[in-house]
Symmetry: C2
Subunit: 342 residues, 2 copies
Amino acid sequence: MPVGAHGGKRVTRADVAQLAGVSTAVVSYVLNDTGSVSAATRQRVREAIDMLGYQPNVNARALATGSSRLIGFIVPGLSNPFFGEFAVAVEAAAAARGYSLLITSAEGDEEVERRHIQNLIERRVDGLLVGGDAGHAVVALTAASGIRTVLFNVFDERPGLVTVGPDAAEGARAATSHLIAHGHTEIGLVIGAPETGGMEAREAGWLRALGDAGLAPGPIGRAEFDRAGGYSAARQIFAAERRPTALFASSDLQAVGALAALHELGLRVPQDVSIVSFDGSEETEYSIPALTTVRQSVAEMSAKLIELVLMPEPPSGHHSFPARLVLRASCGEHAADGTPLR
Amino acid sequence: MPVGAHGGKRVTRADVAQLAGVSTAVVSYVLNDTGSVSAATRQRVREAIDMLGYQPNVNARALATGSSRLIGFIVPGLSNPFFGEFAVAVEAAAAARGYSLLITSAEGDEEVERRHIQNLIERRVDGLLVGGDAGHAVVALTAASGIRTVLFNVFDERPGLVTVGPDAAEGARAATSHLIAHGHTEIGLVIGAPETGGMEAREAGWLRALGDAGLAPGPIGRAEFDRAGGYSAARQIFAAERRPTALFASSDLQAVGALAALHELGLRVPQDVSIVSFDGSEETEYSIPALTTVRQSVAEMSAKLIELVLMPEPPSGHHSFPARLVLRASCGEHAADGTPLR
């Protein structure tokens, strides 16, 4: 057991210097790989560090070198498994560049998000990745800090900001067109509350596919982007006399909630109602039936986020990534032998 | 826009002092709420801070005060939504005490876990919450750092360590006994690879319930604790000639994977096979059918974790929390009117 583990008193740089018989400056040289230190001295210092179990204090080191090799990742909400999977992918992309990720979850609370960002700024992280539609306060906060910030989970250009996101409008259009190709003419939409600054990209994509095919918009169920939201939106849509035969759900969780609601109503998927979801998280592979979904390019977006946030001066602009249709059973697809795809 | 947002040059304490017409020491007094500063001066300093958009550097402050009001939370893997939900609960418990959480995900990789912990130790967090069976290297690392550490997702006592976890053996026993009460006599188990240091608590609980009822152990399918693992374990179990009529799955994700496998095999749940899962994450409420599950006391464990990690010297010992059976449809429960519970 290292000596430092006894008693709990913190081992200092001075303790290391004393044991190695050098000055504290030499210990710093060895720790930071600076200064000219002989191989023998370097070896002696390293042994003293190991023997004492010394932990260099990176708060001090960050002050001196200005780099923590840490990136802050603020997710909209970890109770959505899509963001858990996204965090894992961003973590891998960061690790490939020698950086670690500090993750915080805002759970849709702007005040919590502001506090998390303030904390990470104060820790002098090397960059910030902020999910979703950051408010004006957050943008001012990160701009004032001078810490590079990239927004993710954003669907279109934000003047002056660096943003990364899926091409949600095209993904929703492709999903809806696929349902039209299956012969559906009454296609409902499950989505969140109306946006204040114009139509949400997924709603616009759904509407465009219907317009292109000369079809009237089906019913819209609006609720939270979670399982309970999808459940209640579907109950709402299917309570009406005129029922659609297909749904585009704007998130995987909403689709999973809608599946439960349809099951309760005795409606079979895909025989009575077809569904396509958006996100492409793993949960959709194992739902019953497995969901046809529009899958976001998670690995590619993660690599781009890390690339941008590590650039000395990332150019402002939006980076859009394709969201591609993955065919499974919920839209009525069948394997070559005629059995429904799982 | 704050002045600090121009040009990117970082605003210093000296800039604030100059604008407010005070010494840098007075700025520190105001920031740290120490020293005797008149209300008027305090007001002038605060205005200068706001005007310049000054961000106090907490790395420096942590060096001076020894506290960061940050707790590191190392989850075994964020691709498991249970841990996402757990992180959200721990975040809330930390916030209630004025602390923020920095989350990292190890995804089952010990080297990654070690690196994350090293990072958090170097950031001088106030405490560490480490998920799962931390290896010897991790325990030595946190002990040497002098930073209070509490392990979670642990099922029994670890000599010399502070641990929190569900009573997994009793939860598994209750789940299996419930299946026995439904008349099942052939009850399989879906679980991970065998433990090296003795039988895993959930396996022991399953076995005890069967033994207490005078029943022979059913088949065991061993695989990862994720959806793919549950799917393959169930395929393995139901490939045998002698099939069980019920399963206890050791995680929600394994149960969801098993549901997909049974669906593929044309076996109905609960009519042909009953299932009870372990964890109680939200996904089990919306599966088809909804899963009867043993739900961990997430809120209570989260509060205890924060309470322990903030104690000056938390006493070593294990804190066990009940995992309670939640009845839904997958075990054959019916509502008072005879319809299956969703």
